[in-house]
């Protein structure tokens, strides 16, 4: 999938400015940058949630699905988990049950969770449900917008592992947005750095982390917290 010259304007303000980025099939492309740099706006544009100019080539509507940052706000509190997961599934009633089970097992959740309400689930479990729901539409591209930043460290790792497994098993393409470079380095093949709505650097993870070219990328790398380094 190729994002070509994508621009999003809110009135006179340009939130995303002429971004061109390729997400090759089966790869995870990381998008980093501080908040307000336009990451979420880009994600929403690619997902068809905000109007944009430019082109998205190689992925139709419904073929792009997004997973949101806050797993507490992205599931309808009054809808059972099974019904939420089934929302993107276009199958007969009976087949849908089976499909929901399959989707839940893809994200390593037991099938009996289908009958529960989101409030009975932990944050990590909710985020898995949100991922299962997105997978139900069999997307060409999964947009993951800060999907671990609302989670505790103890479950963050499991969700990151899941993203990598899904890529390995399903050949899923992912646009993975995060402010945390250590996380992005761990899951992504390619890293794109966004600053004030513009891409300042794109390269393989090794290139960007190992020999950053843009000054802003170096500043971001500097800002990564390290245990016991004061």
């Amino acid at each position: 999938m190729i994002i070509k010259s994508l621009t999003v304007r809110f009135g006179a303000f340009t939130a995303v400015d002429d971004v061109t980025l390729e997400v090759p099939p089966g790869s995870i492309v990381g998008l980093v940058g501080e908040s307000g740099s336009g990451k979420s706006t880009l994600a929403r544009a690619v997902s068809g949630l905000v109007p944009y100019t430019g082109e998205i080539i190689g992925a139709g509507r419904r073929r792009v699905q997004m997973v949101f940052q806050d797993p507490y706000a992205s599931l309808d509190p009054r809808m059972r988990v099974g019904a939420s997961v089934a929302e993107g599934v276009r199958l007969s009633r009976a087949a849908r049950r089976v499909e929901v089970e399959r989707l839940l097992s893809l994200v390593s959740l037991p099938a009996e969770l289908a009958g529960r309400y989101p409030r009975e689930l932990s944050g990590g479990q909710r985020q898995r449900v949100a991922i299962a729901r997105a997978l139900g539409a069999r997307p060409d591209l999964l947009v993951a917008d800060e999907i671990t930043s609302a989670l505790d460290v103890s479950v963050q790792g499991a969700v990151l592992n899941l993203v990598r497994e899904l890529r390995a098993e399903l050949g899923l393409s992912v646009l993975f947005i995060s402010h945390d470079l250590a996380v992005v380095r761990y899951v992504c093949d390619v890293i794109a750095v966004l600053h004030r709505g513009r891409l300042v650097e794109v390269g393989t993870t090794d290139e960007v982390v190992g020999s950053p070219r843009a000054a802003y990328t170096r500043a971001l790398l500097e800002a990564v917290p390290r245990l016991g380094r004061r």
Partner: protein, 608 residues
């Protein structure tokens, strides 16, 4: 439901409403005949043994008539409410389905109607439709509708912006299904609550209409009509007006109380806080000699809520001057409640117990409420995740900061204002004098958090407690705020308790790390040891699951299976046992926090 009946207001409301329902059902069959019995010998009497509320101009017993009128009064009120709600909900839902321009027209109309006095709207409608019960019901319905329309509109708009609706749209869920599956269910509950309150209003409104002669006409009678008939005689025989007036008031109050209580139960805000819980010394534990050097010394802190919920269980903690102690743990481990207990902010009905809770050498449990408040006000600065928890949205930043100096340091207004600007500049708020004149909403999240820190620095705090101060901020801003906190600690020599779920941030900022799990401290160690010397299986697992810039990307990240038990379900053993790879028989008993090398404490049987 039990929750609802626990508050006095909820109980009173529910009883009154139940009483009204019984009256509506049983009133006419029991007292119907008495209410219609004409007695020429007892015309226009006042209160007497035979007729406790007197009689009317045909000698009919007024008490019986009041009891019988309940059914009609309540039925009409229910009808008016249903009409108003139906009209209002349709009107409120229209803008989300109509084309843009028509939607704006509807919204504008609703806004105008909301601003229009309800009784006038009701009277106007009643006059147009015609006198009588029908006119009154439609009139009151018309008066109720705009409120419902506005509520429906706001609710629908907020649900429409929810992430789960965006997700449904991406999945190609049809518009109609989004409405029935997501919007309506999430809008229904508040609407039903509003219905109960509207019923009380309708009852009063209809009584008012009948009282004005616009409502129920003879020979029918409702409470308003009885009031209308009795009012002319109020000076001669006041009892005749008291009956219907009391009935209307009781019913109206009942529905309003019930509606309020329902709304509160639904939003789970509980009864209004009765002020924070003061610490109570816990018996039979000798905490040993107090640590004279420590700014903060906590021994065996326990926070309990009714129903056996103990989110903080026997926590001990010491913070020295100039030291930054990081308190880490996953959400729900009791970090925030620990901070709240120290600051005297645990909400009712929580109870705080501690063998010792010393701040700046004074035992908080032994101080009078007044002295405790003053000590906390002058020596403790608190910074929360949401800066708006500390800022009043209605006041200018500068004024709020100045207030602190005026109240706690007895500074003059002018001095305080100047100091506020100075402190804002000190925490690198650009153009501090201009910012001081702005309201909180005009500042970005990072700027607001700086303002809160500046507020803490108006005095000379001895202890700074920062509870997830950077969680809502992005990395670069997060970093600046952390710098600022460290500098504030260095400059003031204050002790800092830094609370975070993010062990990486804590590892970078703090001198010492205290790890909490399920309400207890499981490990306490110098930050240098965090990456390599952690001894508790939970701490180790946390660190292993955290990717850093050197993590081997060919291996899956370590993760901790299972979940932390909620505070009501922590058993007597080690709370980590169900998730612990080392758990053994011994772990059925809770391990104490014991010294482990220098400056290092661990609560684990297997850490030897």
């Amino acid at each position: 439901m039990r929750h609802l009946l626990r508050t006095p207001a909820g109980l009173a409301g529910a009883s009154l409403v139940a009483l009204m329902v019984v009256l509506a059902v049983a009133g006419p069959p029991i007292w119907g005949a008495a209410a219609e019995r004409i007695d020429p010998a007892a015309l226009l009497q006042g209160s007497s043994a035979a007729h406790s509320l007197g009689t009317d101009s045909l000698g009919r017993d007024l008490l019986a008539r009041v009891l019988v009128a309940g059914r009609l009064s309540l039925a009409l009120a229910a009808l008016a409410t249903l009409i108003g709600a139906a009209a209002g909900i349709v009107l409120g839902a229209l803008p989300s389905v109509l084309p843009r321009r028509a939607a704006r027209l509807v919204t504008g109309t609703v806004n105008a109607l909301v601003a229009f006095p309800g009784l006038l709207l009701a009277m106007f409608t009643a006059v147009v439709v015609g006198l009588g019960a029908r006119g009154a019901v439609l009139g009151v319905g018309a008066a109720i509708a705009p409120g419902f329309a506005r509520l429906t509109q706001t609710l629908a708009a907020s649900v429409a912006r929810a992430d789960y609706v965006a997700a449904a749209r991406m999945l190609g869920v049809p518009r109609r299904r989004v409405l029935t599956a997501h919007v309506l269910p999430n809008v229904a509950e508040p609407l039903i609550l509003h219905l109960t309150q509207a019923l009380g209003g309708a009852l009063l409104g209809l009584a008012g209409m009948s009282f004005l002669g616009l409502g129920v006409q003879p020979p029918s009678f409702d409470w308003g009509r009885l009031l209308f008939d009795g009012f002319a005689r109020i000076y001669a025989t006041p009892a005749v007006a008291v009956g219907p007036a009391v009935a209307v008031a009781l019913a109206g109050v009942g529905f309003n109380l019930l509606g309020d209580a329902l709304a509160r139960a639904a939003s789970r805000t509980g009864p209004p806080a009765r002020g924070p819980a003061a610490p109570v010394a816990s018996e039979n534990r000798s905490p040993g000699e107090p640590d004279a050097r420590a700014v903060l010394e906590v021994r065996d802190l326990t926070v309990t809520f009714p129903g056996g919920v103990t989110p903080v269980r026997g926590l001990s903690l010491t913070v020295a001057p100039g030291e930054i102690v990081g308190l880490v743990g996953e959400s729900g481990s009791g970090k925030s409640l620990t901070a709240a207990a120290i600051g005297g902010l645990v909400p009712y009905p929580g109870t705080v117990r501690a063998a010792r809770l010393r701040l700046c050498g004074a035992d908080l449990g032994e101080l009078t409420a007044e002295r405790r408040r003053r000590l906390l006000g002058t020596s403790l600065a608190m910074v929360f995740q949401d800066p708006m928890a500390s800022l009043n949205p209605a006041l200018r930043i500068g004024g709020q900061l100045a207030e602190v100096a005026v109240v706690h340091q007895g500074a003059s207004r002018a001095e305080a204002a100047a100091r506020a600007v100075d402190r804002l500049g000190h925490v690198h708020v650009p153009e501090p004098d201009r910012r001081a004149r702005q309201h909180p909403h005009e500042l970005s999240g990072g700027m607001r958090q700086r303002a809160v820190i500046a507020m803490g620095l108006m005095g000379t705090p001895r202890l700074i407690i920062a509870d997830e101060p950077t969680t809502a901020l992005d990395v670069t801003v997060q970093r600046q705020i952390l710098h600022l906190l460290r500098r504030a600690t260095e400059e003031t020599g204050a002790a800092t308790l830094f609370i975070s779920h993010d062990i990486a941030v804590v590892g970078e900022l703090c001198h010492r790390v205290v790890v909490m799990y399920a309400g207890r401290v499981v490990e306490d160690l110098p930050v240098e040891g965090l990456a390599t010397a952690a001894a508790h299986p939970y701490t180790r697992a946390l660190i292993a699951s955290l990717p850093d810039m050197d993590t081997d990307t060919s291996q899956p990240l370590a993760s901790i299976p299972g979940r932390q038990p909620p505070p009501g379900e922590v058993g007597s053993g080690c709370a980590f046992a169900p998730r612990c790879p080392l758990a053994g028989e011994q772990c059925a008993e809770a391990p104490p926090l014991l010294p482990y090398g220098t400056d290092h404490h661990v609560a684990c049987w297997k850490a030897t």
